[in-house]
């Protein structure tokens, strides 16, 4: 199970990374005649996969019909500008959902990764220093961490984001939001690291290093923090889906990335229209993707249950 989950996660990460090469269309490429086009099912014509193209039946109702008389090759093989292939359907601007899903993965997972790295780094440093030093530094850092932990995450993120200018360019959004996530995420890491370091610092190898004249920084960097390696990895796997969700929520309410940047949250923002979601369910594809990621991370970190008689 765990192995399968790890494979699924790595695969998703790879898809995200290779988006510019895997995605059949650009994130912002819009086909004005194909708004809300449904997913097109590929089938085999001899040995090559083909798709029946769609023809507009009613523009106002955004209804399409399958033209069974013609076939179009998949966009990786051959592109036809007049007959785009939407394997996962198109959104309300006529943009390919599959391509936006892949590019969106890049944005959302990218942001979450950056934030996770930041939170892990700062959390590890803060926790290790607290655990190593003890005393009032330990008290102070842990009090702050406790305080942040008590607060509901989304509210803190919301307030911090909302007091900044409401409409910002995408690169600024990326930076600011990742910093907000780091601010909210470091206590999770810090508490665990502090606990481990507080125990480890009394071990012989640390005392040996100290007697050899190693400074605190060296001891932290070379011995203590690596001792937390397992814990850090677990925390990172827990933080990642949380940050993906937080970005999705922010973009959903309009405080995240602006259109036309593809991120899973901005793609879901159109789902505020209940009727559109009911008629065009493929626009909920990012929700499934997020579910897949959360599921994989849960599988990865779940303990096998104790068997009973």
């Amino acid at each position: 199970m765990t192995r399968r989950a790890a494979i699924m996660l790595v695969a998703l990460a790879l898809f995200a990374l290779l988006a510019p090469w895997l995605a059949p269309y650009q994130a912002g490429e819009a086909f004005s005649g194909f708004l809300h086009a449904p997913p097109m099912r590929p089938h085999l014509d001899g040995l090559s996969p083909v798709v029946h193209p769609l023809v507009l039946a009613d523009r106002l109702e955004q209804r399409f019909e399958i033209d069974s008389s013609r076939t179009v090759k998949l966009p990786w093989i051959e592109r036809d500008a007049a007959a785009p292939v939407f394997l996962l359907g198109a959104d309300d601007f006529g943009r390919d959902v599959l391509s936006r899903l892949l590019y969106g993965a890049r944005t959302s997972i990218g942001l979450a990764l950056v934030a996770t790295l930041g939170a892990v780094l700062i959390g590890a440093l803060a926790g290790a220093w607290a655990g190593y030093r003890g005393g009032w530094i330990d008290e102070a850092i842990m009090r702050v961490a406790d305080f942040v932990l008590v607060l509901p995450v989304i509210y803190v993120v919301l307030v911090l984001r909302a007091v900044l200018p409401l409409v910002l360019p995408p690169s600024t959004v990326f930076l600011l939001v990742s910093w907000i996530f780091v601010l909210v995420g470091w206590p999770f890491v810090a508490k665990g690291v502090r606990a481990i370091v507080a125990v480890e610092r009394n071990r012989e190898y640390v005392q040996a290093a100290q007697s050899l004249g190693a400074g605190p920084l060296r001891i932290l960097a070379v011995h203590l923090i690596p001792a937390c390696g397992g814990h850090l990895l677990v925390q990172a796997t827990l933080l990642l889906p949380a940050f993906i969700l937080a970005e999705a929520t922010l973009s959903f309410i309009g405080l995240g990335f602006p259109d036309p940047i593809a991120s899973w949250g901005t793609m879901l923002a159109g789902a505020g229209n209940y009727n559109a979601v009911a008629r065009f369910p493929w626009t909920l594809a990012p929700a499934v993707a997020i579910f897949a990621i959360v599921l994989s991370t849960n599988l990865l970190t779940s303990q096998p249950s104790p068997r009973n008689r």
């Binding site: 509901p152 911090l160 959903f252 209940y274 979601v277 009911a278 959360v294």
Partner: protein, 321 residues
């Protein structure tokens, strides 16, 4: 017990104070203010007059102190966005969020705990199925859950999509109002409850499985007590300790989750109110929302801690007996 309560009360008050002050300060620092949209249509002098009349130009400290003074008297100031006292606005919306939270907790408990007891004490195919469903449930955070449920409701029409009441609800009798609520609550409450129920199930399952192996349970069986009684009467109360501890932690995520659910399903609660207040830079409303939220948070965690202390005699409150 008394000292413990006092300490927790103090912590709660501190939390409310710090959170609301921070919210007030941050909103004050934020670019733009509530008069901005109106100021665009006014000349510079009129705009300055408007800002002065709304008290937007007061230096922070006097404004903060007078707000504090008001709060002690339960006067949270006036919302400029809604042209009403903040207190009345908060009361309504906080109540709505509380209703949602309570229903969600109830649902999560009623689903999660019994299922957890089942999977923790039995073997077989049903157990594996329930565990698999539980794993899926944990992986459906409120955002995804609410979107999926809204889709289901919009497609099937079984439940009303969004909102808390049907409008035109002026002269409804209590029964009719309750029935109306009963139709609108399930969707958002379920969206919140699913991951919580799954977490509860897993924790309860683990806890009761290990409690069942305790010697005193075996002893009770040896005395002739039948299996289900021994589990429910002896193993279960002990297993409740970690489970009840989880309730305290869940309060925070309940809040976070309720914000998302309120936005997706248009539930008129505290989260949505705070969001609108933040966007409009309505100072006192933001601070009021933050204070209310912190209050419920502190109260919720205190309640669950008390519950924990009450049910498990092994837990002490730091006092010697």
């Amino acid at each position: 017990m008394g000292r413990y309560l006092l300490r927790r009360l103090g912590f709660g008050l501190l939390l409310v104070f710090v959170v609301s002050s921070a919210a007030l300060l941050l909103t004050r620092l934020a670019p733009g203010d509530i008069a901005a949209p109106q100021c665009l249509e006014l000349s510079a002098e009129k705009c300055a007059e408007l800002r002065a009349s709304l008290g937007l130009n007061r230096p922070f400290l006097p404004q903060y102190l007078s707000w504090l003074g008001g709060v002690i008297r339960f006067d949270f100031g006036r919302s400029l966005l809604y042209s009403r006292p903040v207190g009345s606005l908060l009361g309504e919306r906080a109540l709505n969020t509380a209703v949602l939270a309570i229903f969600a907790l109830l649902a999560a408990t009623l689903i999660g705990i019994p299922l957890g007891i089942y999977t923790g004490t039995r073997a077989g195919i049903m157990r594996s199925i329930v565990r698999a469903i539980s794993l899926i449930g944990i992986s459906v955070p409120p955002l995804i859950g609410s979107l999926a449920l809204v889709f289901l409701a919009a497609r099937t029409g079984w439940l009303p999509v969004g909102g808390m009441t049907s409008s035109g609800g002026l002269e409804l009798t209590w029964a009719a109002w309750f029935a109306d609520l009963a139709r609108h609550v399930p969707l958002p409450a379920l969206a919140l409850a699913i991951p919580m129920a799954a977490t509860l199930e897993r924790l309860q399952s683990e806890a009761i499985a290990s409690a069942s192996h305790e010697p005193f349970v075996a002893a009770s069986r040896a005395r002739g007590v039948d299996r289900s009684r021994s589990i429910l009467h002896h193993a279960w109360p002990v297993s409740l300790r970690p489970v009840l501890g989880l309730y305290g932690v869940m309060i925070g995520s309940l809040f976070s989750g309720s914000f998302v659910v309120e936005v997706v399903t248009s539930w008129p609660g505290l989260g949505r109110l705070m969001f609108d207040a933040l966007k409009a830079r309505d100072l006192f409303l933001v601070a009021g929302c933050a204070a209310t939220g912190a209050f419920f948070l502190a109260a919720g965690t205190l309640l669950s801690d008390l519950l924990l202390a009450y049910t498990d005699p092994r837990v002490t409150t730091g006092e010697s007996r």
